[in-house]
């Protein structure tokens, strides 16, 4: 379903970014980058009081003509950004949430690997496979 999936570290650099189709990769990279501002805005808008209750799923960050961008942030300020095709109207919010949940679980599994140093790029094959499964549905 997703056209592009990105995992952004706390310091706002990408840990993992992958998009299909691959020819417009730069555009998606740019989109993800600009979406980070929106993510930060949403996080700060929550306020300190709501830190504990802040929901991880941020929802639609901003829609454009061609696609919609959804955001999700973990408690460690790792952000997941997903770009989905606007033409795919069948996608519901719950589905996006479930996709983010899967992403989060896979990310946690990557973290559990002692050979993975937090802050490194994610090269886990399991993670790749999971992302592929999410993105392959588009085709």
């Amino acid at each position: 379903m997703a056209v592009c999936v990105a995992v952004i570290a706390k310091e706002n650099y990408p840990l993992y970014i992958r998009s299909i189709p691959t020819e417009n990769e730069l555009k998606f990279h740019y989109t993800v980058h600009t979406s980070l501002d929106v993510v930060d805005e949403k996080i700060s808008a929550m306020g300190k009081a709501l830190v504990d209750q802040r929901e991880l799923y941020l929802g639609l960050l901003y829609p454009t003509e061609d696609y919609k961008v959804y955001g999700y942030v973990t408690n460690s300020k790792v952000k997941f950004v997903m770009v989905v095709d606007s033409s795919n109207t069948a996608l519901r919010d719950n589905e996006i949430r479930s996709m983010f949940r899967k992403l989060h679980n896979s990310y946690t599994d990557v973290m559990c690997n002692p050979f993975y140093n937090p802050g490194d790029c994610i090269h886990s094959r399991a993670f790749d496979n999971m992302v592929t499964s999410m993105m392959m549905q588009v085709c």
Partner: protein, 698 residues
């Protein structure tokens, strides 16, 4: 191909060799088997047949060497030194004749002979299938749709193996089967490489798959359709049955952990975590596996594969799987994308059950074990001897003996085991998938590495592996240590006046003394340098004064008095020891004492207040000395000087020791003082804390 070589063989040898169809097919199979890399017609890339497949094939016929020599002479020596198809065919015919008991003559091969039997490498399958030759042969040739896929996938790697099997199988096949066998040849032929012999003992399933695969193409035309259906079902059983055996006890399966490997892994687990039921934490495992010197991404992948529950820790089966993967990787096997079924924790969990499972299979397969086992062992030994082991130089183990028993029997007992296999179908399918994935491993690696993986298991290997792991530890423990979190720096110790470490460094002590003096401490006087001078007798007081002067020059004056006093006191001490024995010496000393006593008295009192122990000790001797002084006075110098010189050295030595003792004693007192102060501070803090702590405990 059939007719051509047959005719050529007949013509080339100058004989009209009547080759029956079966013979033709068999021979062409063998020929194609032997000449796979050199299709132009040479039976072996090298003209020397002995070292090549032809030679191996001939040896596999289990004929005595001289017979083989005769045969090669008869057929090949006439030629230009290589085994062309004609020579090869003649040779095969002669081998058949020899095996039948006929003399090795050209004449003997003119008659109809059974097909030559090649026992060892290629023909263990024949042996295995000997019991149900025709059926099995037919079975193998049945095209099976399911297996085709697998065989297609594995065709690249496995066909090599297959081709070795196909020829052996053909003789066992009934005539109707032989065409199919023959059909198989060209296909297998295409894939052939020198690995054929090495890959001989690959599971029945491989054969089945390949046979079915190969059969599929050409076989359809060859078979009658009616047999095909029957055969297909049987072959399905065959392949299916062979699957579990492949996956379960296949000796060449690199993803199967043998008992020895398992024991080794368990021992390693114990070294990391004595409780076998608990987990190894991620960091511990990371340090351990880092010793294997595999690159981190690969280790990360291994972890991903093996930590199935993704909890960041390894249970015993997970650890065994991870270790096994690392071992395999070190031996050259690329890591799979999915964890092989044989490495799943569920599979590995009943560590004690695994042998039981083997035993169960063994029981069921007990009948045909002996023969097939022998052949397998033979094959394995052949494989081991042939296969290179780049990583380990140790001899390879026949660790599969127990496990492989199942394998050879699998085919034979297929019909019997249909029930078993049906039960294990699901596993088989998984095994199929897994085996197919594992077969994606480059061909080159597989055969040798099967055995090289085995080598890891071997006891000698384990012995070497353990030192290997130790060697890992020697080098990479440091890396691991570096990688591992460094313990937080301990809080900086208060150094300051703690001079214990350098207590014997006199200069430091002096400096400390000076500092201590400045800080207000009243340490016992060191008075070390002046001391030796003090020991001199005649010019003692002169030297003493000199020493005192020297001391003065080097110390704070306030300290100097203390030092001199200390010197005198310390001198008194040793001198007190010597008093009874060296009255002469002591007399001048006492003079000094007398001289120094009055001025030192007030200072001594100061010392008393602080260094009570030392001063008390020192005062008493001085008092005693002073009492003895008047008695000593009359004796004096004239006699003393000679003996004093002799004893001066001893006294200096003693004094030095005494000085050192004094220094240490002083240090001790200093530290005790510090300890007292620290105690006081602590008590003060504790009282403060108690005062501040709210009274909430009720």
């Amino acid at each position: 191909m059939e007719q051509g070589p047959g005719g050529a063989a007949a013509g080339g040898a100058g004989l009209l060799l009547p080759l029956s169809d079966t013979e033709q097919q068999r021979y062409s199979e063998l020929f194609s088997l032997c000449c796979s890399p050199a299709p132009e017609g040479g039976s072996a890339p090298a003209p020397a047949a002995g070292g090549s497949k032809v030679g191996d094939l001939f040896r596999a016929s289990q004929l005595p060497a001289d017979t083989l020599h005769q045969i090669t002479e008869l057929c090949g020596a006439k030629r230009v030194g290589y085994f062309g198809p004609a020579q090869f065919y003649v040779a095969l015919k002669l081998i058949a004749a020899a095996q039948s008991g006929l003399p090795v003559r050209i004449e003997s091969i003119k008659s109809e002979l059974p097909l030559p039997r090649f026992m060892a490498l290629k023909n263990d399958i024949e042996m295995r299938y000997g019991n149900a030759a025709e059926i099995l042969g037919v079975k193998f040739q049945i095209p099976h749709p399911i297996l085709e896929k697998n065989s297609f996938r594995r065709s690249d790697e496995g066909d090599k193996k297959q081709e070795t099997k196909s020829p052996p199988m053909s003789p066992m096949c009934s005539p109707p089967a032989s065409p199919s066998n023959y059909q198989r040849i060209p296909l297998s032929y295409g894939y052939g490489k020198s690995r054929s012999k090495l890959e001989q003992p690959h599971g029945v399933s491989y054969e089945a798959r390949h046979s079915t695969h190969q059969q599929d193409g050409p076989a359809t035309g060859n078979y009658g359709s009616k047999s095909a259906l029957v055969h297909s079902s049987l072959s399905r059983f065959l392949s299916v049955e062979s699957e579990p055996q492949d996956s379960s006890n296949y000796p060449d399966d690199p993803w199967r952990i043998t008992e020895e490997q398992r024991e080794y892994y368990i021992n390693q687990f114990k070294s990391l975590q004595p409780d076998l039921n608990s987990l190894i934490s991620g960091s511990v495992a990371k340090n351990f596996f880092t010793k294997s010197k595999l690159p981190i991404p690969e280790l990360s992948h291994v972890w991903e594969l093996s930590d199935v529950d993704c909890d960041g820790a390894l249970t015993l089966p997970e650890f065994c799987a991870a270790f096994h993967l690392i071992v395999a990787r070190k031996n050259g096997y690329p890591l799979p994308d999915m964890l092989p079924e044989t490495l799943l924790p569920d599979y590995l969990q009943p560590a004690s059950l695994k042998p039981k499972r083997d035993c169960a299979l063994l029981d069921s397969y007990s009948e045909s074990l002996s023969v097939s086992q022998q052949t397998r062992d033979f094959n394995r030994t052949e494989l081991e001897t042939v296969c290179e082991d780049p990583t380990n130089s140790e001899p390879l183990i026949l660790f599969d003996v127990a496990t492989s028993i199942v394998e050879p029997t699998s085919v034979e007992e297929m019909p019997d085991k249909s029930a078993l296999t049906q039960d294990a179908n699901s596993d088989d399918n998984q095994a199929l998938n897994i085996s197919t994935t594992t077969k994606t491993i480059p061909k080159d690696f597989k055969p040798s590495q099967h055995l090289s993986v085995k080598t890891v298991v071997q006891e000698s290997n384990t012995l070497k592996a353990r030192p290997r792991s130790r060697s890992y530890s020697s080098t990479s423990i440091e890396e691991a240590m570096k990688k591992g979190e460094e313990p937080p720096m301990p809080p900086p110790r208060p150094q300051k006046s703690h001079s214990r470490a350098s207590s014997l460094d006199l200069n430091k002590i002096f400096q400390q003394n000076t500092q201590a003096v400045k800080s207000g401490w009243l340490p016992p006087p060191p008075a070390l340098p002046p001391r030796p001078f003090v020991s001199q007798q005649g010019p003692h007081h002169v030297t003493n004064t000199e020493s005192v002067a020297q001391a003065k020059s080097s110390y704070v004056e306030f300290r100097l008095k203390e030092q001199t006093e200390q010197v005198s006191e310390i001198e008194l001490h040793p001198q007190m020891n010597r008093a009874p024995s060296q009255t002469e010496e002591s007399s001048p000393m006492r003079k000094e004492i007398l001289l120094t006593q009055p001025p030192s008295k007030p200072i001594r009192r100061k010392f008393r207040s602080e260094n009570q122990m030392l001063e008390n000790q020192e005062l008493t001797p001085t008092s005693s000395v002073t009492s003895s002084l008047p008695a000593v006075k009359p004796h004096l110098p004239a006699q003393n000087r000679q003996s004093s010189k002799q004893k001066r050295a001893i006294q200096t030595a003693i004094r030095k020791n005494k000085e050192a003792n004094a220094v240490l004693a002083r240090l001790n007192s200093e530290l005790q003082q510090q300890l007292k102060e620290v105690h006081k501070e602590r008590i003060a803090l504790e009282t403060q804390l108690e005062q501040l702590r709210p009274v909430t405990v009720l």
